[in-house]
């Protein structure tokens, strides 16, 4: 056994180890591992870097690796497309970093009352943003939330086909495809390339008695607002299918909540509500529905409800309808549930509580002002076409470079040389829009940032 005393292993002190072994009545751990047959034992020594036993050495080593990155704090960033750069209030980091929340797990709501209440409050605030009475604990991400929503819809109406908006991001679609494949057929709806909007004729042609649900987004992956929500919902409801709408909640201080234009199931992403991007690791999804048993019964997720306790006036919390879950019912539960992204859910709650109604309103207005300003400024550059899509945008918009004499790859490489992360290249994802990229503008961008981008782009294209 090791002679090293490890700071993370309390009983690695040799004398203590001996004491424990003596008490158990064995010579060494081998007397426990004897249950593992010899031929199944690993005989070699694992080739693993380290040890970096002192915290200083460890930190220095890892920081050395991190110093090879250039982040959106170092460079001016215009990338969005599923992970977005927003300001994260210090209070959010303080709460998300608390050891109590950071290191809790599956304890019940007596000793972990705060965890239950915090997640209940997050659900309550999301419910207000989307105008729904039921919200689950977080899913892995938005894509996972779409997929679960589709499977929920299929269980509700027993149909086996879902129609998804054609402008969905390829990454999100890949997740939904994989998750729906065993039971459902996934088909994409056509869209009007001039407006980005759902092609209603195609929708009418495709809806039928075997369509379980139709999914569209607001704002869409390509940044525009789908303004035909009511019309789409009417068509879908007429054939008895479910309307699923995906949202970026930062838009909901200004955009109509999906429930008000017909959504039966709303899903979306929590990352822009106070969660660091972390190379895409900050994603966390949610699902919301009306408070009807037919919906609640189909969620695979844990769901926290408020109730009373034996103490007069005290709130208690507990798991709602636990039998639905695979934890309770194994393969007879709804899909499967596991450890997802609860801490991000808590962080998003803190963010929404800080922002309040006016904060979410100001956020939405400020983002739209900046993005419209950016479109105007960029449109003045020779060789740049923006807006390309004739629909209102929220925080993202397509910029076309067909007349710029350079590919998006070349333009982004040249912007990078000026310490700017240009928009996301969508020329392969959506060839219909030619040589284009998707730019993202949020409340972090100033007038000077936008002008700096314009100057840099002009230099890249026209010099």
């Amino acid at each position: 056994m090791s002679k090293i005393v490890y700071p993370y292993i309390a009983n690695s002190v040799p004398e203590i180890k001996e004491r424990l072994l003596k008490k158990i009545g064995i010579e060494s751990s081998e007397d426990i591992f004897k249950e593992i047959p010899e031929h199944l034992r690993f005989k070699g020594k694992m080739n693993i870097p380290g040890p970096y036993l002192s915290e200083y050495e460890l930190k220095r080593h890892v920081e050395g690796l991190l110093s090879k990155n250039k982040s959106c704090s170092d460079y001016l960033n215009f990338l969005g497309g599923g992970t977005w750069q927003h300001y994260i209030p210090a209070v959010v980091d303080t709460i998300a970093g608390r050891d109590e929340f950071l290191t809790a797990y599956v304890g019940d709501s007596f000793a972990d009352h705060g965890k239950f209440q915090a997640l209940f409050e997050t659900a309550s605030m999301i419910g207000e943003l989307v105008d729904m009475d039921v919200v689950n604990t977080p899913t892995y991400d938005w894509a996972n939330a779409i997929a679960i929503s589709c499977r929920m819809a299929a269980r509700i109406n027993g149909r086996r086909k879902v129609l998804l908006v054609g402008t969905i991001s390829p990454g999100r679609l890949a997740v939904v495809d994989n998750y729906c494949k065993p039971d459902l057929t996934v088909e994409l709806l056509k869209y009007d390339s001039e407006t980005g909007l759902v092609d209603l004729n195609d929708l009418k042609n495709k809806v039928s008695e075997d369509v379980s649900a139709v999914y569209f987004e607001n704002p869409s992956y390509l940044g525009f607002v789908e303004i035909q929500g009511e019309l789409i919902s009417k068509i879908v409801h007429d054939i008895g299918a479910e309307v699923i709408v995906g949202v970026d909640p930062t838009s909901l201080g200004v955009l109509t909540p999906p429930a008000q234009y017909g959504a039966d199931i709303v899903c979306g992403e929590l990352q822009p509500l106070g969660i660091h991007m972390q190379w895409g690791g900050g994603l966390s999804g949610f699902i919301a529905t009306r408070d009807e048993k037919k919906y609640v019964a189909e969620y695979p997720s844990l769901m926290f409800g408020i109730t009373t306790t034996i103490q007069e006036g005290e709130y208690g919390f507990g798991e709602v309808y636990y039998e639905r879950t695979s934890y309770a019912s194994r393969e007879n539960g709804k899909d499967f549930i596991g450890t997802t992204t609860a801490l991000y859910g808590i962080a998003a709650g803190v963010y929404m509580a800080l922002m309040g109604p006016q904060g979410m309103r100001d956020l939405g207005i400020g983002i739209m002002q900046r993005s419209q300003y950016a479109m105007e400024i960029l449109s003045e550059i020779k060789g740049v076409k923006v807006p390309l899509i004739k629909s209102p945008c929220f925080k993202e918009f397509i910029v076309n470079f067909d007349d710029a004499g350079k590919t998006v790859t070349e333009i982004n490489r040249d912007l990078l040389a000026q310490n700017i992360f240009g928009g996301k290249d969508i020329s392969c994802e959506f060839p219909v829009y030619g040589n284009s990229s998707l730019f993202c503008i949020t409340e972090i961008h100033t007038k000077d940032d936008i002008k700096r981008l314009a100057v840099a782009l002009d230099k890249v294209i026209n010099n």
């Binding site: 080593h61 109509t256 507990g318 509580a353 490489r413």
Partner: protein, 520 residues
């Protein structure tokens, strides 16, 4: 030394209002940066581009509080939560509640990580790509497997990834309809049944033999040309290592099936035994358990999914590769199952786990395994003779490994006090509620404890003393235990059935206000 029992413990009990009840109209928690004069003058009415129907009419009804009050509210809620870094969390067996080092939180908060966008040019993310690549090499060493993905967002998600690979494997062979069964064992985690079921497979569950081990005779009867795969945990959640595990693999391989090894309980086997030597085609690790990353109140987590070379082509895309000079993302995987999560998974968990693992080194991982099994057997010894307490399959003569499934069946018979009562009472001594077991409770009145390498001899002695104390209370003053908790952040619920009643449940504050508040 007499073990410390925190008889005078009292958890923070703030009687905290729901945040909506603290709302004072007009209050602001934070202000949003103003776009500035030039932008506002040029874009006076940004909402005008939206048709009226798409313009929100009312402000969202969020609470309105000053910043101090938001902070204080959530600090109160945090204090009403027992994280494993704070308490003696031997309790949550199967969950490996080890210490989560603070230095790793400093590292993930570094903007050179936290402010990385997944769409950045590869030249600007060489550091995180290198960490991914190197942690993959580490997991390959620990598992013996050939290729790893970190895209799954947790253990169950990795098991779903396994089920997706099994589908892709049989679909490619045109045999998905024939190979429609996945076999698992009842003491494997529920996801080993639920994830294959979600992926479209029929599930066959094996029950244990008289020793408590998976029944090989039952497997012999279950395997057939319908067997797509077996999904099994080892050691199972009751803490017994299945010494015939390679025979299970052989039986499944003999009928052409694939074998997935759920390594959620791998903490005590780092450097001791691996999926490779055991013959499995696939396995996974719960990175947030075994490799020192925090559980986050239930995520973000990560499920490292591993497989052999012949299945690697089905893995989620992209992979992280290295050409000798540069790290890069490889999207060229035409046979991939696609994606299970957007982008590259929970990168923060991987960064923390990489730091934890290289801090320990190979010898440290082996020490982790040694101390975990020693701690567990020491706790068993300390709990010996506790009235009303036994452990499952006590007469099989097999050494328990990293955890034990105990049973309070005798206590329940003797006193009427069951495991749910004990479990509430334990929180009165400053200890997190323990893990009973997943359902169904094959072992009656279960309690599953896992004193992993983090815990000191004093922690274990304290834990045993508290368990004995509660046993004593159950025999002498059973009502005290049945009515527990008394010193927790919250008390017993009045009406458990209300949580299953559509007329009474309330999942948001607005639902509560509509359905319940007016009844009071």
């Amino acid at each position: 030394m007499v073990a410390k029992v925190r008889k005078n413990f009292q958890q923070a009990h703030w009687d905290e209002p729901i945040i909506y009840e603290m709302s004072i109209p007009g209050s602001r928690g934070i202000l949003v940066p103003d776009p500035g004069k030039e932008i506002k003058e040029r874009i006076k009415n940004p909402l005008n581009v939206l048709p009226t129907v798409m313009q929100r009419k009312d402000l969202p009804r969020l609470p309105e509080l000053s910043q101090k009050h938001v902070l204080a509210h959530y600090l109160h809620l945090s204090q009403e939560t027992l994280g494993s870094n704070i308490t003696n969390d031997i309790s949550e067996g199967t969950c490996t509640m080890k210490y989560n080092p603070r230095v790793n939180e400093v590292l993930v908060a570094d903007p050179r990580f936290s402010e990385l966008h997944p769409g950045q040019d590869e030249d600007t993310v060489q550091g995180i790509l290198e960490i991914y690549y190197k942690f993959e090499q580490i997991i390959k060493e620990v598992s013996g497997m050939d290729k790893v993905t970190f895209q799954p967002g947790g253990g169950n998600h990795a098991v779903y990834t396994a089920a997706s690979l099994v589908r892709a494997y049989w679909a490619e062979r045109g045999k998905l309809e024939e190979r429609n069964e996945v076999i698992t064992t009842i003491f494997s985690h529920p996801c080993d049944a639920a994830a294959p079921s979600t992926a479209g497979f029929k599930v066959i569950t094996l029950y244990p033999d008289e020793q408590g081990l998976p029944d090989i005779e039952a497997l012999k009867k279950a395997v057939s040309h319908h067997t797509a795969a077996i999904f099994m945990t080892n050691p199972e959640d009751i803490g017994l290592y299945n010494p015939q595990v390679d025979q299970f693999v052989k039986l499944v391989h003999d009928v052409g099936g694939l074998c997935f090894y759920d390594q959620a309980n791998a903490n005590a086997f780092l450097g001791v035994t691996r999926a490779r030597e055991t013959g499995f085609d696939m396995c996974h690790f719960n990175v947030h358990k075994t490799f020192g990353a925090p559980h986050g109140s239930s995520g973000p987590a990560n499920g490292a999914f591993c497989c052999t070379e012949n299945l690697a082509k089905y893995l989620p895309s992209p992979s992280v590769e290295y050409d000798g000079k540069k790290y890069f993302l490889n999207f060229d995987h035409p046979d991939s199952i696609g994606k299970v999560r957007e982008f590259m998974g929970t990168a923060g968990v991987i960064l923390r786990a990489y730091a934890w693992t290289i801090m320990m080194g190979a010898e440290g991982l082996r020490e982790t395994a040694d101390i975990s099994v020693i701690n567990n057997n020491y706790l068993m010894k300390q709990l010996e003779g506790t009235p009303g307490l036994n452990y499952c399959f006590p007469d099989n003569g097999l050494r328990r490994q990293e955890q034990v499934r105990y049973t309070w069946e005798q206590l329940k018979e003797d006193t009427g006090v069951g495991t749910d009562d004990v479990n509430r009472r334990i929180a009165d001594y400053g200890i997190e509620h323990y893990w009973t077991s997943h359902h169904p409770w094959v072992i009656p009145e279960p309690m599953t404890l896992e004193p992993c390498e983090t815990y000191s001899v004093d922690d274990i002695d304290e834990y045993a003393a508290v368990v004995k104390q509660i046993s004593k209370e159950a025999y002498e003053t059973p009502e005290l235990v049945k009515e527990a908790p008394h010193k927790s952040a919250s008390h017993r619920r009045n009406d458990e059935a209300a949580l299953d009643d559509p007329d009474k449940w309330a999942l948001t504050w607005r639902a509560y206000e509509k359905k319940i508040k007016h009844l009071k």
